[in-house]
Symmetry: C2
Subunit: 650 residues, 2 copies
């Protein structure tokens, strides 16, 4: 070590992590990873920071780093290295540096925190507050209470109408309680205003955004004065007791009126509970909520809005309505202020709901250049392609495999769920939720496993297992791959991937890919020509984009063309809460969307069958037509090297 | 009898009765009364047609009648006779004649029938029907149900918005049931339309008008295609179980939340029951009701609308709101079509409600010339004076005496209630409801009795009884007047009028008159200068205007200046149901009205005390200042002649 090197090792440098916006001060001897860990920047490090999993990729934007290490030269192409790409677990600073962390390198929790930055300063909510002071009635001023409030607003050039007699009563009661002084909250555009409620002078006006997923409901509380998200929370959708997926819940509702009523009321209860959590948790009250936005898939939308889901259960799956709705909260069973309305953005079709519209909004779809695909992967996957002035949308039944269902050792992304798997130098590394001992595999984990098996040659392009692989064994006549042996597992049982599991993943990824291909062919482009692939939603946040390309769910694109934008539906809902103009954009998106029905599309069956197969493995280039090439040689070689015991697990 | 007279007796003449619009063909020997009775024109004839009660007054407009008989010369002034006034029980036709029957001469039932003629041909209801036929969805036409209906209406240049998601669901359900064909009912003005419901092609759109009185609720079913009133019905206001008058019900509601809820729900139930009666009774269903108008006093308005009545129970009696409201029927607890809204016209003040606005509308108050007073007498009496561009309104607590309450033998206008009393030639004649044997006295009866007692000199101007009158006796130290002896009564007990009863009438008439006087002095006129006195409401329909003048409740005016317009509040409600422009007129009336609060008016106490006394009796001229003249001589003379036994009583 030269003198200058020693000197630089003693020096302190500032490491700036973007877009997280945190800074660490570190000695030159520390890796960027440990610097990140010190200030709570949660980089993914599947291998534990030993340089072999390639998950902690960062890009150096400013400053200088120590020369690349051998692991980095394996991980990156020469071009990527010259672009500044490094592994955080290997690289050390030689000066103050500024790093850009791709969302794929951030742990999920932190990725989701980035959602906060959703509103611009020019946002104008749909509600406005007016500070008023009203003359109390007396023996010689007999004007009714409501007309007094109207007169006070008239001085502010606002001439609101009474949206409902409940509101009239509520506002008058509150005005008397508050000695005729308060913040009158008004909704709507100039000339068509309606009074929502009245708040005490010093109380903020709040808004709620909900994203009703089939499995989970996310809620966000926003201060509509500052447009800051005050708190967020999630609950399991209680409808899950009536059926895991949308189709079984629709069937349930259609079987019995009583069940339909329960499905509706359980949903409203969950939203009320979430609203209570969010408001009381932040020292507020639900009565301060003066506006709300709710997004969800069309079935959740219909359940919540009180619309019949009957037609969503039978071809041609036509919804009752796709129009946006503004309904009094009380009519939807929500215990908010009596005048609060809930905005439900438009849907696109029976299986492309307002949550997708909201994700498209969050993905700024209308203002993007080039060929942009936005997809939200779930039991049902919604995909849209924006190209010039066209916006083409479809929906495909990708099944519940990515939610851990129909997978032998599958589970949701709960503690102990294997969420990431890396094959490195023949060894498998697994990362679990909360770093608990592994007990099962969640969606992103199973995707990684299948990609790794494919890369290691454990399965062929048809998904068939190579029975001779040492970790492949036969049980009850079916082949399975031993992912985690019993002794390493949290529950003391082997965690395996069966050939049936692989078929489930093939069905799922085949459906998603077929959807992408049909949209591209509808627009007259190849999927390899996609400029940007925006991946939204929970699973889309967790998944490893490289694995998704390896298994062929995504077309092969260079990584910088892939964006994982987290819970975009929630982000879009917050935006619509904070800005009336975002609601108009959502309207535009839904109006612009051309819906392509895949179930009756002449090419779908063929494309889907085609896409059930895996593509050529270890071909880093964009070559989607190479999927017929024989990869058995590579597979055999990979299988042969996979001898290392899985001691590095956990 | 000359030959020509004999010839004319054999001839047949046509008698036309206006405004009833019926014709009778009669021989010259018959009286006009018997001609009327033959064709069902119900003239009042308290004395049974013997020419002494003067209640069957008619006016001959065309044709010639036999010369006047002595009874007519007693009844009418020379001027009246030259104007064509005759008694129908005496006069006989000498040619075809056309008669005008003043409403005071018509039995109540027939007076009320005249309410039908309420709408002009140019009326445009607030709802419009569009016949549409919609393409059903198919595999290649995936538009949602609602958007299909919207598209069909767009072809009619209507772009309605969804008023509520309930309506969206209802309309879509019905369209499917009716194979995508039907009459879509749309509400609101061009450019701001909302869909109400959809009806089968051949089904009329119906409207309901309700007048919620403190004692009785009247309902009217109107065919909004033809604008004809299809049926009408009334029920007792079930709130009566919680208190007879408005004040006691307000106190009840304010005592306990539970009672307030019951007061509200009982009212809604009564309206629902009435709606069922009206619709099923005419072979319709409540779901065909696409519009509704509800009027009532401010307390009933607040109870029905779900507004708090708290403030109506404490000074300064300020309502929550006086604004007109349009509320979804379901929010008001009415089981009508999900999209039906209920229009509640504006109120004027805490004790001048939308029923009075409706009565003013029915009385065409805005278009009348001269000094017009409209009054609606009840436990609470609302009075308005129109003079040039001013409309001045007040309300006075006239007490329940005219509803038969607080009167020893008082009762409501049920069968057997004495509704008219005439003193003629010293004998008393009574007319009862349904001509049953008398069992009590209703409001119009007690007014007649007191007027008769005053005319007969049985009481003095202070209301004191002349103890020497043969029908005046003392019981428990209190003087009472024997109206019907036990042997003539339906229940076998004496029917009497006590000195306390007379005081009640004095309080009631004094309050009404004081209200009229204060309004006149506010406008700078004398009450004798009133050009038209319009008497609305149930009691106002039954009362004898001459008696009302005799006791001094009304100022002395020539009879042709008094109009009894029946249940004007109901008529006004029907008009507002049939015509959007009538709703705008109601709005104008409420905006124009200046409210005068009598309880704090500096002159009220004096004027009221003054008006407790009776005025000079037997002075047919307009001489309201003559009330101090000594009438004891006349009284004594009248008392002396009142010897005839009451054999002519029923």
């Amino acid at each position: 070590m030269s003198e200058s090197e020693t000197a630089s090792q003693n020096r302190k440098f500032e490491i700036e992590f973007e877009p997280v916006g945190r800074r660490a001060v570190t000695g030159a001897g520390s890796t960027l990873l440990s610097a990140a860990q010190e200030v709570g920047v949660q980089l993914v490090a599947v291998c534990g920071g030993i340089g072999i999993c390639g998950s902690c990729r960062v890009r150096c934007m400013e400053g200088s780093l120590a020369p690349t290490e051998p692991e980095e030269e394996v991980e990156f192409t020469a071009e990527e290295l010259s672009d500044g790409w490094r592994l955080a677990c290997r690289a050390r600073a030689l000066s103050d540096v500024k790093l850009d962390i791709p969302s794929t390198s951030l742990a999920t929790a932190q990725r989701l925190q980035l959602e906060g930055a959703t509103t611009s300063d020019s946002s104008e909510p749909s509600v406005t507050a007016y500070q008023v002071e009203v003359e109390p009635p007396g023996l010689y001023d007999l004007r009714p209470d409501w007309e007094r409030v109207e007169a006070a607003l008239f001085q502010e050039q606002v001439m609101p109408r009474a949206s409902s007699v409940h509101v009239v009563q509520h506002v008058c009661d509150r005005m008397r309680e508050m000695s005729w002084k308060g913040r009158v909250i008004v909704r709507g555009e100039r000339g068509a205003e309606e009074i929502v409620t009245v708040l005490p002078t010093d109380v903020p006006m709040l808004g709620l955004a909900f994203d009703i997923g089939t499995t989970k409901i996310a809620g966000y509380l926003v201060d509509l004065d500052t447009l800051q998200t005050v708190s967020r929370a999630g609950v399991v959708n209680p409808q899950i007791a009536f059926g895991e997926d949308v189709v079984s819940r629709i069937a349930c509702a259609n079987r019995e009126r009583r069940l339909e009523t329960q499905l509706r009321s359980r949903l409203a209860e969950a939203l009320n509970e979430l609203a209570r959590q969010l408001t009381t948790g932040s020292g507020n009250a639900a009565t301060r909520v003066v506006d709300a936005v709710v997004v969800g898939n069309t079935a959740m939308h219909h359940f919540f809005a009180g619309l019949s889901v009957r037609q969503l259960g039978e071809a041609p799956y036509v919804p009752v309505t796709c129009s946006s709705l503004s309904e009094p909260a009380r009519d939807l069973g929500l215990d908010l202020s009596p005048g609060t309305t809930v905005y439900l953005p438009p849907n696109i079709a029976g299986y492309v709901g307002s949550d997708h519209v909201s994700a498209l909004l969050a993905g700024d779809i209308l203002s993007r250049e080039g060929r942009v695909v936005v997809l939200d992967i779930g039991t049902n996957t919604e995909i849209s392609l924006k190209i010039a002035d066209r916006l083409i949308s479809c929906s495909c039944a990708s099944g519940p495999a990515f939610e851990g269902a129909h997978i032998q050792d599958g589970m949701r992304a709960l503690p102990g769920a294997i969420e990431h798997v890396r094959l490195s130098g023949g060894a498998l590394h697994v990362q679990t939720v909360d770093s608990d001992r592994p007990v099962g595999i969640c969606g992103s984990g199973i995707l990684d496993v299948v990609a790794s098996m494919l890369e290691a040659g454990i399965i062929d392009r048809r998904g068939r297992f190579y029975a001779t692989h040492p970790r492949v064994r036969s049980r009850d006549g079916e082949l399975e791959f031993l992912l985690v042996p019993a002794e390493a597992a949290g529950h003391g049982r082997d965690i395996v991937v069966t050939s049936k599991d692989v078929v489930e993943i093939q069905l799922a990824k085949g459906a998603v890919r077929a959807g992408i291909e049909i949209l591209c062919s509808t627009a007259g482009i190849k999927s390899s020509e996609i400029d940007t692939l925006v991946v939204a939603g929970a699973f889309g946040t967790y998944l490893d984009a490289k694995s998704a390309m390896t298994v062929g769910m995504f077309p092969r694109l260079s990584e910088d063309r892939i964006e994982q934008i987290g819970n975009a539906a929630g982000t879009g809902a917050i935006r619509m809460l904070c800005s009336a103009s975002e609601r108009r954009k959502a309207q535009l998106i839904a109006e612009r969307a051309e819906y392509v029905e895949l179930t009756t599309h002449p090419d779908f069956a063929d494309v889907f069958t085609d896409r059930l197969f895996f593509e050529l493995v270890r071909n880093q280039g964009v070559d989607s037509d190479a999927r017929t090439r024989d990869v058995s040689g590579a597979n055999a070689r990979a299988a042969a090297t996979d001898q290392r015991p899985s001691t590095e697990m956990q």
